[in-house]
Symmetry: C2
Subunit: 350 residues, 2 copies
């Protein structure tokens, strides 16, 4: 059974819509890389002309997805022009995909009125098939593939060496816990890549933006790990004060895995249809983390993670949890220096 | 500016989801007709094999749309088998279309898990383009095309002969009011048919189920007219009791037009790309109206019409309005004898 953890819906103060500047900045920073991939590597001549279909996998509620889709449409249009195919310029159809529980009503209500594409919403997990065979020309996924389809089962078994006592993530945990997370991620990615390979048109392209760490850097030395440790510590503080029980913290685990280029390369190579066209970190000088303070950082994490906590803990603790996190981040900001954290991956069919 | 009047969302006691038995019965009654049209007239051999795309225009929130789409998918599968094309059986992709304000979250949450198609939601008015050119193989629209894209403007002008004093519809009104409604309907249908003709694949089919009246039958002699008159009379009673103002009733008009086969034929003929393959009333012996009592009838109307009233009147009056309607229907049930009320239309490209 897959689990679903949508970003916060609506347009309120804790909504993803109002707390996703970080992801937006990442999309802007990677814009040139996407344009370059389309200009150099997308062979539009091999497509039957009409329409050009693109998909955003794990789109959440906007506005980031609209910005990204517009960039891609414009880059593809330029490619058609550059190839002298002005008369064959296709119409565009964009498929916005996310979990069934995503707030599609908000997504649809905020669609740009001036868009140059036909819009569709596609409800369902991208850890499975979403589209007919050979029907999508360009697939994009940003800040979504680090979500596991579920918490690895071993973590919930008190008698397993992967029982994750006093923590909510594999950061700073025993090796067996990391292994369980990695195995789940590999399983999920295999399904993801196999589904996408079937859905992609020959000559089509997949662009992924994935939170990741350079090979050999342990997560505990990264901003990701620091955040997860601080979240765990905040919960443990609350358990010590009797606001929640320690047993609750023991059996709660964040279904998020941070991959490395090595791991991603191996997973793509296991798939027999796809090859890596490009894989590199988004320029770390873009300093993605540098611009936000402790409170903003906690708000950003809340918009993404509140759903996971709210499914498990009583809703009354959510405000406190993120208030405590905000304070802890401010106390420990030296741990949040930017490192290469966002991996840009271009895939195509062999 | 187009107006949007979605059916009641959610799954509460007044929801469309729980008050659309009538439309469901209509879909079941017309099932054989749809199957016959597909079996006899849909030339699947002329489609490039994969996928087969179908659309429900004005789908609302289910479950009717799921039932209809499943019938159509099964009928198309049988057609492929009957033509000896088992090895070319396509995958199916269904586009569920309705206004942006439709409750797509509820629609997506209630999608059948065992469906044999890939599902998409398409937000936007069908009085305009929704899909890329030549991309849809089968279009369906049930109980939706009688909604006008907006209230005709003349009705809101006190100095116009089409000022509709003391009524909320053209039923029992002056001729100028009927003309304004008919002109709006014709304008809307022209746009609808022209958009669909562009979107339909060569060899594709359009099936419409439209509330309609036989040629020459005035709406005042029909169950539709009776309902609209009773709704109007309920509002006027409330105005007389001072619960609302008469001026409010004067300037409120239901954006619903009931067409005739003659009018529909003329409109399709005006379109240069489409022809009528079949047009007839759904068997009146199916007695669509006969099975519901006054309260059920008021509930059914509320699920469809509450949105229009709620945009205009204060929400406090809605309960009373439909209570009064329910009583008036029971007092006047002799007016609600079934007549041919649902027109079945099959169109295809020339």
């Amino acid at each position: 059974m897959q689990q679903s953890f949508p970003m916060n819906g609506g347009d309120g103060p804790h909504s993803y819509l109002n707390n996703s500047h970080f992801q937006r900045q990442a999309i802007n920073v990677s814009r040139t890389m996407i344009e370059e991939a389309i200009a150099k590597k997308l062979d539009v001549k091999c497509f039957s002309s009409n329409p050009f279909r693109l998909a955003d996998l794990g789109c959440s509620v906007g506005p980031n997805t609209f910005i990204a889709m517009q960039h891609i449409v414009e880059a593809v249009e330029r490619k058609y022009l550059a190839q002298g195919l002005k008369s064959e310029m296709p119409e565009f159809q964009v498929f916005f995909n996310d979990h069934v529980a995503n707030d599609f009503n908000t997504l649809f209500a905020s669609l740009p009125t001036e868009r140059r594409y036909f819009a569709c919403g596609v409800p369902g997990s991208f850890h499975g098939r979403l589209f007919p065979e050979s029907s999508i020309h360009f697939m994009f996924s940003s800040h979504a593939l680090h979500w596991l389809s579920k918490v690895p089962e071993e973590l919930l078994d008190k008698n397993s060496p992967a029982w994750n006592r006093g923590r909510i993530h594999y950061t700073s945990g025993p090796e067996k816990v990391s292994h369980a997370y990695a195995a789940q991620f590999e399983h999920d990615m295999e399904i993801f890549l196999s589904a996408r390979a079937k859905e992609l048109v020959v000559g089509g392209m997949i662009v992924l933006l994935i939170p990741a760490l350079p090979n050999g850097i342990p997560i505990s030395q990264s901003p990701f790990g620091a955040m997860f440790d601080l979240l765990g510590a905040s919960l443990m503080d609350m358990a010590k004060e009797g606001l929640i029980s320690e047993a609750e913290v023991d059996s709660f685990n964040l279904p998020i895995h941070i991959a490395s280029p090595e791991q991603m390369t191996e997973l793509v190579e296991r798939n027999e249809c796809l090859i890596i066209e490009r894989m590199e970190f988004v320029d770390p000088r873009s300093n993605l983390f540098g611009l936000i303070n402790g409170k903003e950082c906690a708000m950003f994490l809340r918009a993404s993670l509140e759903g996971v906590f709210a499914q498990y803990f009583e809703s009354g603790i959510i405000d406190q949890l993120f208030d405590r996190l905000s304070k802890k981040i401010m106390e420990s900001s030296h741990q949040l220096e930017p490192v290469g954290t966002l991996l840009f991956v271009v895939l195509r069919l062999k």
